[in-house]
């Protein structure tokens, strides 16, 4: 057999049927479900008298709509339409017999944090969810991507998806990262390089020393934003760190099954000489802590930079850049570190894991947020929250003046009550800075948890390395 990429191998192992024109029926090992993109799919099953083919491979958790305030057990904290969606998921999970973590369960959280945490996500699997950030699970060497609601219904009914194979894109980050630079800076820098459409038609394999040196949490952050680069999925080959993360998780294999799984997982790497359709190489040491200035995740600059002018761009991007500058209320030429903020949001499926909270707490320890600024930490799951409390991180956030919330998607997409008011400016560890994303008229600057913590202290976008040198 000719040399294959990691993507080729996972793909080949999941083809149920291939038509003459190359259209494949691909088997799905894990189907994750949340309340916003699933009600119409379950309704479709009911209307056609169909059932869920593999309920044991289907896992549901409410996350997008749920309030994150401590009083959320009180139904009045949720708007009626949000409550109806969550109740619909409660009912659908029960009626169709799928695994379920209700809001009251300590294991509840953002679907992309719960999946890996509970050992549902394992190397070599195909994982889908009606959510674009399903790419997160690629960190385990699983082929994972978002699907629409019609496809959710298709997977529920058949445990397969109709797919055509994507092309292979290798993104190599060589060498090591410099101090103060994190997985978030890698993934944003890659999007800055490729643009939001640069990955369209591809599955990315991230590799290189800087990727290998990342923890599993960091790798999930990198893969999470593969979608912001337009790619169908992002992948990282599993290694000892991956196996150590999976071992002992509630739904990971045990005993002889674990040994058999390990033997298979160790074959999941790109063969020497395998063909990539495109290769991008970035030196780890060249990556700086970055922030976004505009309303597209490709609007990335090192924190030491200045706000660009629309005339710095070409083609259709000129109009888009001007629109972004107007929306964001920024003047070309101003230093990024002069941008004052009103709100800091730490959380989301991009940066709501324990390591993210540790990184932010390391900067905030013994310090206070700037007066008048709203700051919140929303852990990615109830278990992340519990661990952060055990490690003393929660107290650091509370002492610094942050709100310490319950788990959910929260202000990443502002479907729950956590929203920006028009004109408010937020330093956010989430994944999208689109117009209105965090609330109509709200302005979002994407950055890493450490950078968000730094901004909370000073009240403006800040180079975290300056605060780090203070403590050295």
């Amino acid at each position: 057999m000719s040399p294959r990429t990691l993507y080729d191998k996972i793909w080949d192992d999941h083809v149920v049927h291939q038509a003459d024109d190359g259209t494949c029926l691909l088997y799905i090992d894990r189907h994750l479900v949340h309340e916003v993109t699933s009600p119409q799919a379950f309704e479709g099953l009911r209307m056609t008298g169909r059932t869920v083919r593999a309920p044991e491979k289907t896992i549901a958790v409410p996350d997008h709509n749920v309030p994150t305030t401590l009083d959320r057990a009180n139904a009045a904290t949720m708007t009626e339409d949000s409550r109806i969606q969550v109740e619909a998921l409660d009912k659908n999970a029960k009626d169709f017999g799928i695994h379920y973590y209700p809001v009251s369960d300590v294991r509840q959280g953002i679907v992309h944090i719960v999946g890996p945490e509970q050992g549902w996500t394992l190397p070599g699997m195909t994982v889908v969810c009606g959510d674009s950030h399903t790419a997160t699970h690629g960190a385990f060497g699983a082929l994972a991507h978002g699907i629409g609601t019609s496809e959710v219904e298709h997977v529920l009914a058949t445990q397969t998806l109709i797919q055509k194979k994507s092309k292979n894109l290798k993104v190599e980050i060589t060498g090591s990262l410099r101090p103060g630079v994190t997985a978030k800076d890698i993934t944003l820098s890659v999007i800055g390089e490729t643009g939001t459409g640069g990955g369209t038609g591809y599955v990315i394999e991230y590799c290189g020393q800087a990727i290998r040196e990342l923890s599993m949490e960091g790798r999930m952050t990198v893969c999470n934003m593969a979608i912001e680069g337009g790619a169908r999925a992002g992948l990282i080959a599993p290694d000892e760190k991956t196996f150590a993360y999976c071992m002992g998780r509630p739904h990971a294999p045990k005993g002889a099954a674990w040994e058999a799984a390990m033997a298979y997982w160790k074959t999941l790497f790109t063969d020497e000489g395998a063909h990539f359709d495109k290769v991008i190489t970035i030196k780890g040491e060249d990556i700086a802590p970055v922030v976004t200035w505009g309303t597209s995740p490709e609007d990335v600059l090192p924190i030491t930079g200045t706000v660009p002018a629309a005339s710095d761009f070409k083609g259709g991007k000129v109009e888009a850049a001007q629109r972004s500058l107007d929306y964001m209320g920024l003047t070309p030429g101003m230093k990024l570190t002069d941008i004052k903020i009103d709100t800091v949001f730490i959380g989301s499926c991009t940066n709501g894991r324990i390591e993210d909270l540790r990184a932010a707490a390391a900067i905030l320890k013994g310090k206070k947020k700037k007066d008048g600024l709203r700051a919140m930490v929303v852990p990615g799951s109830g278990l992340v929250r519990a661990q952060a409390e055990e490690e003393g991180l929660a107290q650091i956030f509370i002492d610094a003046g942050f709100e310490w919330r319950l788990a959910g998607c929260s202000m990443c997409l502002a479907m729950n009550p956590d929203q920006l008011a028009p004109g408010e400016r937020c330093a956010a560890t989430s994944n999208r800075n689109f117009e209105g994303r965090q609330g109509r008229g709200g302005r979002t600057h994407l950055l890493s948890p450490a950078m968000a913590a730094a901004a909370a202290i000073t009240g403006h976008l800040t180079d975290v390395r300056e605060l780090m040198s203070e403590t050295v």
Partner: protein
Amino acid sequence: MEKFTKLTGIAAPMPLVNIDTDMIIPKQFLKTIKRSGLGANLFDEMRFTQDGAEIESFVLNQPAYRKAEVIVAGDNFGCGSSREHAPWALLDFGIRSVISTSFADIFYNNCFKNGILPIVMPPEVVEILMADAQKGANARMTVDLESQTVTTSDGQSFPFDLDPFRKHCLMNGLDDIGLTMEKAASIDTYETTAAQSRPWV
């Protein structure tokens, strides 16, 4: 799903690049458990002020384009979230085809599940179609799926590529799930084999 065969109608020009799914249908409208009725909120924050008044300058509020059935858009249309509410909102408004140089992957897939035809054209063709769309309501564009062509109001015709399976499903309004169910035996076989080779899954 409604079939798509041939359409002659008004095309609205939206030259902005990276029109994302949050622009197409903002998140506050995702709290529905139905597929219908989203057209009223299509492009909501670009189309209406906060108190619900129409923003005159927005293309779909202009008299010429209120009944548009085609959108000619800038690069990378539909980027962002997987929300199928985006094509649901377009369809509910009456849009049956979108033409751009490129589409985000998930949005592109979602269109075909809802009887909407997304068409990829080279930049120089999109430029000509954009200019044609800008001529207003009397300039009708024709999108013909069978011949895989788009024809401008003045008769210039441009071919486009499309996956034959997607074309077949769209032209016949076929339900994917029904088609896949016909392959149930293959799925059974796959599951039996996988249970042997990867029993931990």
